[in-house]
């Protein structure tokens, strides 16, 4: 398959969910767009060396998570965090502003800390197994399970405070 066709396929297959995942991770729409752009470029540059030792989805998610991590480590990001300890609304003209002011699952996830957000998003949103998350994040499966349990409890608490039913989150398989 020609490289540009392959890129088109990857964007069509993973683009939207990657963008949403990066947004949930970075809490900023424009940074999420940057992360998606960088993820696909890195993926294309290394596609030939991708040995299919993991699934394509796991591979591209790993690139995205590493890209987000690098963005969060960046000085500008840290400057922002130093100066504003709350969620930073994205610049106008994006589709997510409306969720900042009202209760929503998205809003609840954004209230979690970075590690909890990552666990929840990979497990529930990207529907990855504990084993796959362990592979992506470089943690043991038991560490991932612990993190996931903590994150789930915290998310449930936030959702209940926001008026959701007390039965808690569906735990998935």
């Amino acid at each position: 398959m020609p490289a540009n066709k392959n890129l088109e396929r990857l964007i069509n297959e993973y683009g939207d969910s990657l963008l949403r995942m990066c947004y949930l991770h970075l809490k900023d729409y424009h940074l999420a767009e940057d992360a998606v752009q960088e993820t696909f470029i890195k993926a294309m540059r290394s596609y030939d060396s991708f040995g299919h030792r993991s699934s394509e989805k796991t591979w591209i998610m790993r690139i995205a998570i590493n890209t987000c991590r690098n963005i969060m480590r960046n000085h500008w990001f840290q400057t922002v965090r130093n100066n504003t300890d709350i969620h930073i609304p994205a610049i106008g003209g994006n589709p997510i502003d409306e969720f900042h002011e009202k209760n929503s699952v998205t809003g609840a996830i954004l209230k979690l800390n970075a590690r909890d957000r990552k666990a929840i998003v990979l497990y529930y949103y990207q529907e990855m197994s504990v084993k796959e998350i362990a592979e992506i994040t470089g943690k043991s499966q038991s560490a991932v399970m612990q993190r996931l349990n903590r994150a789930r409890r915290r998310l449930k608490k936030i959702l209940m405070e926001d008026g959701y039913d007390e039965n808690g989150l569906e735990t998935g398989n």
Partner: protein, 269 residues
């Protein structure tokens, strides 16, 4: 809503259904993937909710009449005065495994450690005293280019450094003179191919060109500053001084006075 019955994925997709990869973003990705870019990097500042945005984008290099093909610095699409030329540097390859995208990324506790390891003479300053808060990082493909970043390079009168495990960075208290520590970025070109492709840096959004001058060491320097909050009386803007020395690009950046930034640049040898 009964959370037991809630499908979280479906709910997120519903709530964020308007968030899709736009045609514009797709085109940017295609263009970058086509190899029409010298290097790729985007960094943004978003400081307040009041539509404050600055972007440093390293964009496509094309032949540009009457201008140095190899290295341009732009602010909002306007080319700044030409700097000294970048050159191919003979760096000792980093001995580490590449990640899935063909890159090596490593953290170090000091700039000196990186300098010793790379075997390249890199400028440094006596103003960067030894302290435990320096966060150094190198990203390279060992082939075309390498980028070093040193956060908290010079602390000035900032204080109260506390490490955040979650964010993997230090939080600090602003000083009177230095509203942020000063960071250093160093870019090295490792191949003729990269040199031919170029090494452009574009600052987009809330940035403006301040001045160009020749440093005490004889390097041409461009100074930029953010215009994020120009209306506040005591706001100290973030300055970025960019120059090329011995073919290597350096960027010194921090929220302090122009005089302090110049003093730091002049002290680099």
């Amino acid at each position: 809503m009964d959370m037991m019955k809630m499908d979280l994925k479906q709910e997120i997709d519903y709530e964020l259904s308007g968030m899709t990869v736009s045609r514009e973003l797709k085109n940017k990705i295609y263009k970058e993937a086509d190899g029409r870019s010298g290097k790729y990097k985007l960094q943004r500042i978003i400081r307040t909710a009041a539509a404050v945005l600055a972007v440093i984008g390293l964009t496509a290099t094309t032949a540009y009449a009457g201008y140095n093909l190899y290295h341009r610095l732009l602010v909002n699409q306007e080319a700044l005065p030409e700097l000294d030329k970048m050159e191919v540097v003979d760096m000792t390859p980093l001995n580490a495994a590449k990640d899935e995208s063909g890159w090596i990324e490593k953290d170090y506790g000091s700039y000196k450690e990186i300098k010793d390891m790379l075997g390249v003479h890199l400028l440094d300053t006596r103003l960067a005293a030894a302290h435990p808060y320096m966060q150094c990082h190198i990203a390279t493909d060992n082939k075309d280019n390498a980028m070093i970043t040193v956060e908290n390079y010079i602390l000035g009168d900032t204080d109260g450094y506390e490490y955040s495990e979650e964010d993997k960075c230090y939080f600090y208290q602003q000083g009177e003179e230095y509203r942020s520590p000063v960071s250093l970025s160093v870019s090295l070109i490792l191949s003729q191919e990269q040199l031919a492709r170029g090494w452009d840096t574009e600052y987009m959004g809330y940035y403006r060109f301040v001045e160009d001058y020749t440093s005490a060491q004889g390097y041409k320097v461009n100074v930029l500053e953010d215009t994020v909050d120009g209306q506040t009386e005591h706001y100290i803007s973030e300055k970025a001084a960019v120059f090329v020395a011995d073919g290597i690009e350096y960027t010194v950046k921090g929220r302090t006075s122009l005089e302090n930034i110049k003093m730091i640049v002049d002290s680099m040898e």
